[in-house]
Amino acid sequence: MELQLGLALPTTPFSPFGYELKQGPFHNNGSCSSSSSSSGGSNKRRGGFDEDTRVVPKTLRLLLWNTNQRNGEDDDPNDLDDHSSSAILKNGGEGLVGWPPVKAWRKKLRRHVHNGRANNNRMAAAAAGNNSCGGRAFSNSTYVKVKMEGNAIARKIDLSVHRSFESLTSTLKRMFDISEEQWRKSFKLAYQDREGDWLLAEDVPWRTFIRSLKCIKLVRS
């Protein structure tokens, strides 16, 4: 297959107005959300107009956040734990990244509104201290770095969706592809606190952990 690389407008195959009349007003492949898998999806776009009759529902829910229906007043923060297991998730448990396009500090405001707490600045506490987690400040962000011992690539996780160690470790296991058995046998959850000290998460209550953590590491025991 020859790729056409032109410095002027190409002569073929894109005659701008001719093609689309052939295929009708609405032709949705629906596969664009999975393009990061290794299927070599670009081959399917050859010519662009193969007889691909996959039709997807017209409003495809990519984000199922609320399986328990919230009605305003009954907004129990613990409900979010259930959602993280039943929602359609990408990125190891973090939902559709970057959508809708609201800036990080607005997300924080949203958490305030739902939890009704006066000061939800848990993450602000995670900001101070040494920078062995990489010189990044987190005072307004709910994302923290997670590293797995032996793995060069650090990931980031949004702590605002978690309310317990169970929920957090479940996400981490998925993110790093660790089975339940492997986790129990060989891993421990450690974190670096504000003062720069490394501690084991199992030794502290969730509240303390959340308030003082700067970054997380999965260590092999």
Binding site: G6, L7, P16, F17, F26, T59, W65, P101, A137, S139
Partner: protein, 586 residues
């Protein structure tokens, strides 16, 4: 044949003429006229704008413009605002500061957007530029209050310190005390991003008190309402003010103190802040509302009735930022009260909820478009839209320069007809001939891109998500949008063909971002090989792209033109195509 030019003014005269030319575009044109104009212009350019810090090196900038006094730099791609750019990507300002410290000692202004600024950089700024006046950091990160303390302590001529939307490591509120008692030149201070619970209020009050030229003051959430009165009383000349938290016990003495201080500020034109609003405190600002031109209520969780009351007091409002609590009814009230409105931004109060929590629909947008003839710039988050509404909006507002619509659920169709929203957005680009910025959402086919390529001739920035059917869509945009500078795309079925067929176009643009699309690694390599003045960077946290087949799609792609070659500061998850030995083709 005459050797002299037909006219030959002395250089000083030309330089004086050029000093009236402020716009970069015009200055660039001036420098192309002839060699001597190029030379004169470069020696007298005082403001340099670098839209992509990796497009050029600091040395090149300094070499060409040795006498600049102000520099503006932008770093990360725009989608970094939405966490699409991994940490450690780049955008470090330090190398720039180092070069300028030596070569541009009279630098007065530094404006940065989406860059990583360390305390070391701030300390170097404080030390190196004796006449430093303006520091504006927008959406930056990497520094702490220690760096701010260095600036406060050393920059005797500082006029502006603006930290809008930054992420600051808040170690101590006492950095404010580092402004010496003799320091009085502050004109603008924006610390609204600081998260700390401790802001040294007494230091702030003293600072505000002695800086009698202070015109802009944006406080952070930690400043309680009952302290605001003390601050306002010391600065009745303020033109722009951002409150701290807008909640307090409902005590008459606190209220009257606060209301009194507010009404003494006769020059106020712009208000912001309003965190944690207690509605009963809102009437305190009514006396200043008639003069307000800008109001940022995007943190204010107040409901539609209070919002309606508030905006009805502001007949001169030009700019409104608000949460969708305003609802359609509030926007209708806005449309009838605020005839001078130019810019409207409506943010979602519950962006991740599936069902609407407020009654805000396309109707609100239509109402404002109909009632506000000067409306130019819109950012609107909602949950449903129709082609009919968009066509109406387009016809009502042919003067739009910026139109950004975000229908929260991806690929949402026209709720009335269940059709794609191609025709609606097509109307926007057709009627709004001066449109510079457009963000699309909803169910969209290649057809919308055909409209955009055909009509959007002044479009400079386009944001696309979950749209299109094929490469044809991308091709329409790249081949049709003559003024396009920035294109950012996520989750669209665009692949190699359109990109490679329009390779030359990419050199006329600042940058292209594509994530979760269908561009193969092989195409990236080919593009990089054919276009040496483009940096083709693959961002992929899964590991090296050549550990997968060449036909495999890359995760994220950032392409930008540059005269500085590949960058040196790439983290492990960013790959440039140059090092690939398989590119050594004969």
């Amino acid at each position: 044949m005459h050797k002299k030019m037909a006219f030959s003014f002395p250089d000083e005269v030309l330089e004086h003429v050029f000093s009236f030319i402020q716009s970069d575009k015009d200055r660039n044109s001036v420098s192309l006229v002839c060699k001597s104009w190029y030379e004169i212009e470069r020696w007298c350019r005082r403001k340099v704008f670098v839209g992509n810090c990796y497009a050029v090196s600091p040395r090149m900038v300094i070499k060409r413009f040795p006498e600049f006094r102000s520099i503006e730099l932008k770093g990360k791609p725009h989608f970094a605002d939405f966490n699409l750019v991994p940490d450690g990507w780049g955008g470090y300002v330090f190398p720039w500061i180092v070069e300028m410290a030596g070569a541009v000692p009279w630098l007065e202004e530094i404006k940065l957007k989406r860059m990583v600024v360390t305390d070391e950089s701030l300390e170097l700024i404080a030390k190196s530029f004796k006449n430093f006046k303006v520091l504006i950091l927008s959406s930056c990160e990497g520094f702490s209050t220690d760096g701010l303390a260095a600036i406060a302590a050393s920059c005797k001529n500082l006029k502006e310190l603006d930290l809008r939307d930054c992420e600051v490591d808040d170690l101590s509120g006492h950095w404010l005390s580092h402004f010496p008692d003799t320091y009085t030149s502050l004109v603008a201070l924006n610390i609204s991003c600081l998260g700390s619970d401790e802001v040294s209020l007494s230091a702030l009050e003293r600072l505000v008190g002695r800086c009698t030229s202070l015109k802009t003051l944006r406080l952070n959430r930690a400043v309680p309402l009952d302290k605001v009165a003390n601050i306002l009383r010391r600065a009745p000349q303020l033109v722009e003010f951002g409150t701290g938290t807008y909640a307090a016990e409902l005590r008459p003495d606190v209220y009257s103190d606060f209301a009194g201080a507010f009404s003494s500020c006769k020059e106020l034109k712009s208000l912001s802040g309003f965190w944690d609003v207690v509605p009963d405190y809102l009437p305190a600002i009514y006396p200043v509302c008639s003069k307000l031109t800008s109001l940022n209520l995007s943190y204010a969780t107040i409901q539609s009735p209070e919002l309606i009351k508030l905006v009805s007091h502001c007949p001169n409002l030009q700019r409104l930022l608000v949460l969708d609590y305003i609802e359609d009814s509030g926007l209708e009230a806005l449309a009838s009260s605020c005839k001078d409105l130019q810019e409207l931004r409506v943010f979602p109060s519950d962006p991740f909820g599936v069902e609407p929590n407020v009654s805000l629909t396309e109707q609100g947008l239509v109402a404002v478009s109909s009632g506000c003839p000067k409306l130019q710039s819109v950012l609107y988050f909602c949950r449903r839209m129709s082609n009919e509404a968009l066509v109406t909006v387009a016809k009502n507002c042919p003067n739009f320069t910026r139109f950004r619509l975000c229908i929260i659920e991806p690929r949402t169709a026209d709720y009335l007809t269940l059709e794609p929203l191609d025709v609606g957005f097509g109307a926007i680009v057709q009627y709004c001939k001066d449109l510079q910025r457009l963000s699309l959402s909803g169910l969209l086919t290649d057809r919308v891109f055909e409209y955009i390529g055909t009509y959007a001739k002044k479009l400079e920035m386009l944001s696309v998500a979950f749209a299109g059917d094929s490469d044809l869509g991308l091709h329409h945009v790249l081949s049709g949008c003559e003024s396009l500078r920035k294109l950012e795309i996520r989750d669209c079925p665009f692949g190699d063909k359109a990109l490679l067929a329009n390779a030359a176009k990419l050199e006329t643009m600042r940058s292209l971002w594509m994530s979760s699309c269908a561009v193969s690694f092989g195409a990236c390599k080919l593009l990089a090989q054919k276009m040496p003045r483009l940096n083709v960077e693959v961002i992929d946290e899964r590991g090296p792209p050549d550990s997968r087949p060449e036909s495999c799609s890359v995760d994220k792609l950032y392409i930008y033109r540059t005269v500085a070659g590949s960058r040196f500061d790439m983290p492990p998850f960013v790959w440039t195509m140059e090092d690939d030995p398989s590119l050594q083709l004969s």
